[in-house]
């Protein structure tokens, strides 16, 4: 044992040295954190001028309206005075427990719209794209023909559909079914009945959007390398084998893209409902966006309208997350790349 140093003193000195080392380490770590922060801040400040215009626009036109909508949905809002009185969840309770059940019918109809139109658009678009892609002549003509409904005004198409589904013999469908083909005995007010009204809305939505899906699928089909088919030929694959293992497999990412877009779009249905049925009879053909419009502009119930808007938004976010999980969209890219 070294002289003049008791075991206790040695322990103390070891303790002090350790403490000193910790202090130094702490100071060093603080300095490192500060440097890191400074570096990070400098990086942000360098990037900020580039992202600031975008941030300002998003803040003004997305975040601010969104936060304001949340606030109104929890308030009684008087539009002229700009008076906003907090009422808690009253607006949500009102729409969810309304005796007429208008909200639930609208919510149901949005899901039904997705359930009916999305498969029709998806498979219709894919089929027509495949057929057009295999045409030797007249591709452009068919492409234009199928895409024409997409660029035609919703209002004009709605007027045509209103005429087709009109009452009595003044409507084309009634005229054909009752007067010409004698399938029905009585004229039917198609647009004023729950299921025929909804069917007209679905039909119009499908007809209007199928061309868009066709074009997307056509682009995807044209991007499939020809050597894949040639290799499959050499391996002895038949028509069905080539279609299933090359065409369908290659179209998967595109199909998911169309699917997600169409499902989200199903919650934005509005014009066809406003133009064809106005939600009649008794809100049975209404959808969330039309109900929102009616609450805000017809009834001055801006709180309830905002609550409906937020419920739609939350539903869309949940559906998108669910689809991502179910369809494993994050792995689709990899899958696509492998093909």
């Amino acid at each position: 044992m070294p002289q003049g140093k008791s075991p206790c003193g040695t322990a103390l000195s070891v303790h002090h040295r350790a403490k000193g080392r910790r202090k130094v380490k702490h100071v060093q770590s603080n300095a490192a954190t500060k440097r890191k922060w400074k570096k990070g801040a400098r990086g942000w400040l360098t990037a900020l001028p580039f992202i600031l215009p975008g941030l300002i626009l998003v803040g003004l036109f997305v975040l601010y309206p969104m936060l304001f909508t949340i606030r109104i949905s929890l308030s009684n809002y008087k539009i002229v005075q700009g008076q906003i009185d907090f009422v808690g969840l009253k607006n949500y309770i009102n729409i969810l427990t309304d005796a007429s059940g208008r909200f639930w019918y609208a919510y149901r109809n949005n899901f039904l719209y997705a359930l009916v139109t999305v498969p029709v658009i998806l498979f219709g678009g894919m089929t027509f794209a495949y057929l057009i892609n295999n045409l030797k002549r007249g591709r452009t003509l068919f492409k234009v023909g199928f895409y024409l409904p997409v660029i035609t005004s919703w209002v004009i198409v709605s007027l045509v559909f209103t005429y087709m589904f009109n009452n009595s013999d003044r409507g084309l469908i009634n005229y054909l079914l009752v007067d010409k083909l004698h399938i029905l005995k009585e004229y039917v007010p198609w647009l004023l009945r729950e299921w025929s009204g909804n069917a007209a809305i679905w039909l119009m939505g499908s007809w209007k959007n199928i061309g868009w899906a066709m074009l997307i699928f056509l682009a995807a089909l044209q991007s499939i390398p020809r050597d894949l088919y040639e290799a499959a030929d050499l391996d002895g694959a038949g028509i069905w084998g080539r279609f299933r293992h090359i065409t369908i497999a290659s179209l998967k990412p595109t199909a998911y893209y169309v699917l997600v877009n169409m499902i989200i779009g199903s919650f934005n249905v509005f014009i066809q409902v406003m133009m064809l049925t106005e939600g009649k009879p008794n809100g049975r053909t209404s959808v969330l966006q039309y109900l929102l419009y009616d609450k805000a502009f017809g009834q001055f119930q801006f709180g309830e309208a905002s609550a409906i808007g937020l419920i739609s938004a939350v539903t869309i976010v949940l559906l998108t997350a669910l689809l991502n999980r179910l369809l494993k969209l994050d792995t689709v890219e990899k899958g696509g790349a492998d093909v």
């Binding site: 400040l45 803040g59 008087k78 002229v80 005075q81 009452n167 003044r170 004229y187």
Partner: protein, 429 residues
Amino acid sequence: MSLKKWTALIVAMMMAVGCLAACSTAPAEAAATAEPEATQEAVAAEPEATAEPITLVFWHTYGDGEEEQLKNVVLPMWSELHPEITIEAVRQDGSQYHEMIVTSFGTGQSPDVARIDIVNTAAYASQGGLVALSDYEDFAALKDTFLEGPLSTNLYQNSYYGLPLDTNCKAAVINTAIMKELGIEGAPATMEEFIAAAETRGTYSLNVSGVGDWDLYPYFWLFGGALTDEGFTKASGYLDGAGSVAAIQTMLDLHAKKVFTIRDVDGSVDAWDGINSEYAMFFEGPWFFGSYEERLSQGITAATIPTYNGRSASVVGGENIAVFATSKHTDAAYEFAKFMTSEAVQLAMLEKGQLPVLKSLVNNETVLGNPVWSVYMAQLESASARIPSPNNEQIKQVWSDAMTEIFVNGGDVQATLTAAAQQMDALLG
């Protein structure tokens, strides 16, 4: 650029964004302060300084003929009286007019004065969008000059928020040839006579478009129904009362006997079309007779709605003129509103089919001399207004839901009306 300069730049930009955000709420705040100010101005009723030229924005939904009359006849009359006040008349699209006004409330871009539908007046007033004209000193005397029915549509919480501008109601449109087939010369005097004759025809003789309030109220009232008490405070005991149940039952019976058809329920031909060949009668506003001579040549005439149990009934329509709370010239706007309801202007607009709202013009020679206007003015005596309520849209919905339940789904009349009356009570309170 140094860090300090960048920081300064960012702070400056943040302040600019803050200012923009603050500005975005300005119209609402301006509107919030505008109402009490406007009301005070209205109470004071002091004439505005006339030295400075003023421009008033006037929104309307007049058709081509009426707009021409407004621009070429009415506004020059105004310019002579008030050369310092220019009227900027803006014709809006009728189908989206209500939405335009609601949007203008939110953006603070409302007109100074506007011609609005009578059914929306209470709703706009409840939002604080209109000036209470009854606060003006001369209003008490002015209000006595108007017909009671059209005036009442401006009432909200004991104040009047507009002046009646033009009025109308539904009257009977008669196909004289088909009436002759039924054994009736001209128009039937009573519904009992008409029903007895039409029952044997075997095809629909009387048509209505849908089950909405404007469509079915005249029939409901005609057959003895009642919506609420006289003060529009309670529907229970009225809408579901014995008289109302009997009225709906009468309509159901007539429907079952193929006398009465509802287009939206039966898929039958629209009345405007079917009156030329299929229907003996339907109820409609004066606009159906755009060219009376032409209609008359087709054998179609106007008549007051035949009585049932000794009384006729109809529903009041029309427009009011209202001053908007966001206007900076509410006194001048009120002056213009009064001018539009003056005898001279009412007679000028009558030339284009706008029925007057002044008591003094009921027996005017021009009105009595016209085969259509005289019928509608006479019908107004038995016409009732719809419920003047800020919840008008919801009330309409309750009514139409109940009628759909009865006429489309075959719901029990008493039970459906009782449920509807309870819902209406909550909206009237």
